[in-house]
């Protein structure tokens, strides 16, 4: 694996007496898709907020490309090339693909007049880069006409335009159909092929298993498992592991069932 884009060391975050994160270690290398799995309340969203600089950790160290960064903030996160794509509310659905990609960063010339053709050409290039080609849509199509997976594609293309090195996808395939999920996976693989990294967050273990090079299982604010893809045989392994973590004694019914199958 290549350069280490970001590394979190022993990150703790407490809200009053309650620890949301109790010492998390997490790293993402260049050109790697890391799958972050965890139940509701495991601390996933707190971790995303810390990575994007919205929330400051109570203690711990953050290293960008091997160098510790002090005074971590949203601006520092952006400088490090970290972009978060939220599932909802990220796009202006009545606008064109072009307008969404260049939202807030319009390509303008003299006195703020838009360079329309340049924007269309650049949007086409970005969409091609993530593998979004279409016979139906053009960069000037309205985002509202696109399917859920394609909308994720627009959001990813926008993140790439913002020079993102690490794109955090927050539950990108939740509420998407199989074909739509396949589209998102296609985009993710293209982004990885271009040498960028992705932190793929989800609670559908099958989705995460299909796409990630490495898995990080979060449980009650702690990393319960870090495993390379080669170390995990199937999604069922991960599911069993997560059940063990969640119910250390084991749920009698579940384990009997598993033994019978074996």
């Amino acid at each position: 694996m290549g350069e280490r884009i970001i590394e979190l060391r022993d990150i703790k975050k407490s809200y009053g007496q309650v620890y949301a994160l109790g010492g998390v270690n997490l790293s993402v290398d260049r050109g790697e898709v890391v799958g972050l799995i965890g139940d509701n309340g495991a601390g996933k969203s707190t971790l995303i907020k810390i990575l994007s600089g919205v929330v400051k950790p109570t203690s711990g160290e953050i290293l960008v490309r091997g160098k510790p960064v002090s005074g971590w903030s949203a601006a520092r996160s952006r400088d490090a090339g970290i972009e978060t794509v939220f599932q909802d509310r990220a796009l202006a659905v009545q606008q064109t693909i072009v307008r969404n990609i260049f939202m807030g960063r319009e390509l303008t010339g003299f006195m703020g007049w838009l360079k329309v053709n340049k924007e269309i050409a650049e949007a086409s290039r970005l969409m091609r880069e993530i593998g979004f080609t279409s016979k139906v849509f053009t960069p000037q199509s309205i985002v509202g006409q696109l399917s859920g997976g394609e909308r994720q594609g627009v959001a990813i293309a926008r993140a790439i335009y913002k020079q993102a090195e690490l794109i955090i996808l927050d539950e990108p395939t939740t509420a998407l159909s199989l074909t739509e999920t396949a589209k998102v996976f296609h985009f993710v693989r293209q982004v990885r092929a271009s040498g960028r990294s992705i932190l793929f967050i989800g609670h559908n273990i099958h989705h995460v298993f299909d796409i990630a090079d490495r898995f990080v299982v979060l449980d009650r604010g702690k990393v319960a498992l870090t495993a390379d893809r080669s170390e995990v045989k199937s999604a069922e392994d991960l599911i069993n592991f997560m059940e063990d973590v969640a119910h250390p004694g084991g749920l009698p019914g579940l384990h009997e069932g598993a033994e019978q199958r074996a």
């Binding site: 659905v93 303008t108 329309v116 279409s134 016979k135 849509f137």
Partner: protein
Amino acid sequence: MSKAMEPDLQTPLRRTSGQAAKEWSHPSNHWLRGFVLDNRASLGTLAVFIVMMAVFIIANPTVFSTWYLYSSVLTTLPVALFVVVPLVFVVTCGEIDLSFPATMGFASWVFALVVQAGYDPFLGIAAAVVTGTLLGFLVGSLVVYGGLSSLIATLGMNFLLRGLIQIINEGKSTALTNLADSAAYKIFSSQIWGIPVQIFWAIAFVVFSALLYNRHRFGAQVKVVGDNPDSAKQMGIDVKLVRVKVFVFTGIGAAIAGTFSVMINFTWWPTAGDGYLLPVLASVFVGGTPTWGGIGTVVGGAIGAVTVSFIQTGVVAAGLSGFYVQFFNGLIIILSLLGHKWNQARYR
């Protein structure tokens, strides 16, 4: 998975020869179809206008073939256009501004004061525009930074400003007799080849604003803010500043409109601008700008203003009594809204 994104099942059956090489293509590549799809709201408004005019002309062909009728509409229409167009920006941004009639009155009052004091009318226009800018900024700041509902706050500002004008002037008007000889009057309010010159300024304003709306960073940000303010904020757009700017734009438009209306009559009344509130609002929505924000059409709004201006003239000229005017106003508004509802889908 590495194939093209869309399976061919989704494309309607058609001849694809020669298009296979293109990565991006549109099912309706014909320029005319693309043009119609991109401008469906304004074209719909144009259709309403043409049908309405056809009905009027059939009802009374002789009156509608006289130039005087069109000349009178072309004199008053520009005043409306200068406020309808900025209001399209306001509504697109997800706000509303009901304070523009008072801004028209206030800014044109400043114009009247400067001209009456013997200064050049050009200076008066500049003073009026500055007044409109400041009032727009005041109203916008109140709504945006005060966190007030624009519907109620601008209604309040309309009463407040109009009240101030009334208190100070005690209902008295100002006659500007020396205006007719000035260069400013010739440039902004005379006639060329029998056509009122205001309409040329108004058309220039509409064209400039349409470009601002479709081809400028300002228009792009107004649309995005009206569409999804959370997303716009996340992408680094100063959402509040954009919102204030649309109110400032309306203030400037209202100042120009007020000044033009005073120049037509050579007189400033304390009620200047009052009658424009409802026709102008109707024009914006008849023009095809929806109420929910994010999209709109400047050219459609302008055609809407033309339609609304012709209703009154047309109903009377067609031989019906003045009592029919309001009824036809309402009829056109309702029919237009139904048409737009059918014509444009709302994407969520």
